[in-house]
Amino acid sequence: MNRRIPITILAMLSASCRHAPSPQPATALGAAILKVSEDTIVGGVGVMPDQPLTVQVNDADGNGIAGARVEFTDSAPGLTGADGQFSTRIRLGTNAGRYTITATTHDKTGKSLQTTFTAIALDYRQTLGRELSEKHCARCHDPQSTAERVSNRDNLATQPHAFSDGAALNQISSANLIAIIAHGGTALGKSPEMPPYSPTLSTSEINALAACIRAIANPPWR
């Protein structure tokens, strides 16, 4: 045991040396930091989503400034570009759960200015749920259309909740959530436009959907 401590320290030192960011001094200091990209990124544990995290550093007049240094949690720092923006991509955590990613810059007085993003790492079951929701649910529950599917949400009399809509979906107990997916909206006196997905989906698939809905809820479930 004891012999390992100096080795560990050495290893940590060398590791920190290797990953130490090259000193990149700020050429400008901002007065505010704003989020440009969406607040939340979601993906399987350990993956690096293609979607970047982008912030903008503004001066006191609200114009983006170039050359302000921005540091993201667990990611190499950098300077804002001509548009005042800095983007980075991060790798999601190894354990499933929610992580707060902080973007920091400093103003003229040396005070740190921060804004935070949420990164949600999904475990196997939640990932399965997310994949299933993309096929069976997203056309109605996701207001956004993609290159592969057109959103049907606005065509419905009762607007379905987006799966990230924690404010609404967290009010539904897990048993009820699973019952709505399995037996349709009418099972709980809600709209029949939500069809029953049992037996199209198996019990474990329906549980996976519910697990995904809980994992990506914003505000968080519980």
């Binding site: 399987g44 350990g46 690096m48 354990n95 196997y124 990932t127 069976h136 436009e193 199209t200």
Partner: protein
Amino acid sequence: MALKIRAALRFFFGDSARAFGSLSVILLILLAIVPAKDHFREWLHYQNGYQTLIRDQPDSVALTRRFQSGVQQIWLPEIGVTDRCTTCHVALTEQSLAGAQQPWRPHPSIPHSLNEFGCVMCHRGQGVATTVEEAHNSTKAWEQPILPARCVESSCGQCHERALAGTPGLNEGRDLLAGYGCVNCHKLASPEGRNRTATDRPPSLKRIAEKTSRAWIFAWIKNPPAYSATATMPDFQLSDDDARDISAFLIAQSTPPLPSAPSSLNVDSSQGADLYRASYCASCHAMQNAAGRIVGGSFGPELTRVGSKVNPAWLTQWLHNPAAYLPDTAMPHFRFADKDIAQLASFLTSRTDPDFAVNVHLDPAMPAQIAHGRKLVNERGCAACHEIDGIARPDNFAPDLTTVGSLPLAKVVFAPDLAHTLPDYLAAKIRQPRSFGTAMKMPRNTFSDSQVDALVTALLAQTARAQTLPAALRIPVAPASGYQPAGKAGKLMNDLHCLTCHSINAMGGSMAPDLSWEGTAVQRTWLIAFLKNPNTLRPALIRRMPRFNLTDDDAATLADYIMTTYQTPAFDRDEPVTPSDAPRGRELYYGKYACNSCHILDPDRDKGYIGPTLTQAGLRLNAAWIFHWLKNAQALRPGTLELNWNMNDDDARAITTFLMQQKAARK
């Protein structure tokens, strides 16, 4: 000094009683060492920590009852698992401890039980070790350190050859291996010995000079993404001289260029653009739009700069009948009129990029250059993907990757500054193949970080362990049935490449509905009209069936074949459905089952546009099909978006009756 030692010896061993006493004390000390050493075991520290942790839990009594102290082991000799991980990871099944720190965190929910497969099967590491270092990361003793979380799906791939819904990374990686030609050079066999097959179709180059110019070939092989951002052709990092010689050879081995095309100057290319849209070319081909986004399918090549590539005379012939130039092309034979072809060709040739290949000036090729080009084509393995006159397809051109996922690290030469793990090595090799030596032949594709992760995950699934697992554990891909439609209609279907998008009898693509039982589903009159003009059956569909400009005879031949051959054995097409209460069917349609969420039946009131429109359901479908579809659509067309409604007979009959009355005139 010697006196002192002698005195001490006399004191402890001077007589037999003293010697006996001293030896007993020494023996006691020696005996005490063993339990003392045990007391400081690393795993004991974690087990003690766990007991402290659960003391304050609300379910502490149950947790304590289930806790087993001492070294734990999962032993599964038939799959070679001896895992002691549960000695420290004591709470893998205790879901009430979610959120606890490692090593006491419960395992996320997965479809397998711990006692069935152990830990190392999925996570790697050294199962028999009982210290943190040796179990997870020891480079001294173990070739398989713990897999990083981003690659853990690879372990599913050891048994699951068939795509799993819950492993998007592994699936994407396997698709990339097949779609980017990796498997054309590398062998990647499954334990059944079946090699992964490529899904892209690099064209034969035997007639390349008819299609394009030497300058285009030069610019393309120098930098494929400059021509097409979605190119699957990799970058071989060729020098100008090498590209000059390869292009010279490719032109030299080809049939001669075509004479220049008859002028089509009087044609309006905007009409061609309309025809491009109306023929749904974008279902297969992508093009960059005004906003700079690449929109369209990926079956065929991207056409953003096609005017900078193709010879107009060749394009005209190609649009007449693609198979005449490339017999195994996936492009259907559109039966365009000459006027249409002129318009389309005019539109496509107008899609040029003035910056592409603008600085390419090639002098006429010298025989020595052509000979050098031939040598390079052999060395670079071009014929592994492309058919080239006089060059045989090389066998085993690149290393066999069948068990690359368990490549011993001792065999890997790591580039400086590269972490010594297999995933890092594979990722670096994919990103910059030449960073491991300039003599490397492997070309480079431009992959995003997530694509590299996916590729590494798919490669790590190719383990030696996978080759030796019991056959009962393997879930292989269902092999393609090899079905081919026969006769006159079969010839027509091959000409139209129906199976590129549609699947029939377990053969074909997945872009369009399975047609195995289409003859039971639809009515002949409707089918003929549809084949002649595939209308907007599904309003929200982005990629859709093109119009092939079929003659009446062709449409009738196809319809007869489909009506006769593609029938389900489950029920008869003409099976009568007892007429029921249509108004009740309407009530059920709009009320209980809310079919209007997805289907438009009355264009004035219904909005849902996911499923096909039902305005003419009574002219399109057979009653028996609707009835059985409402009961269990998944059984009729597995994977359809329609749910399995499991509807009772009364409701199904009422809705069938109601739908069969829908015979609105087409708008």
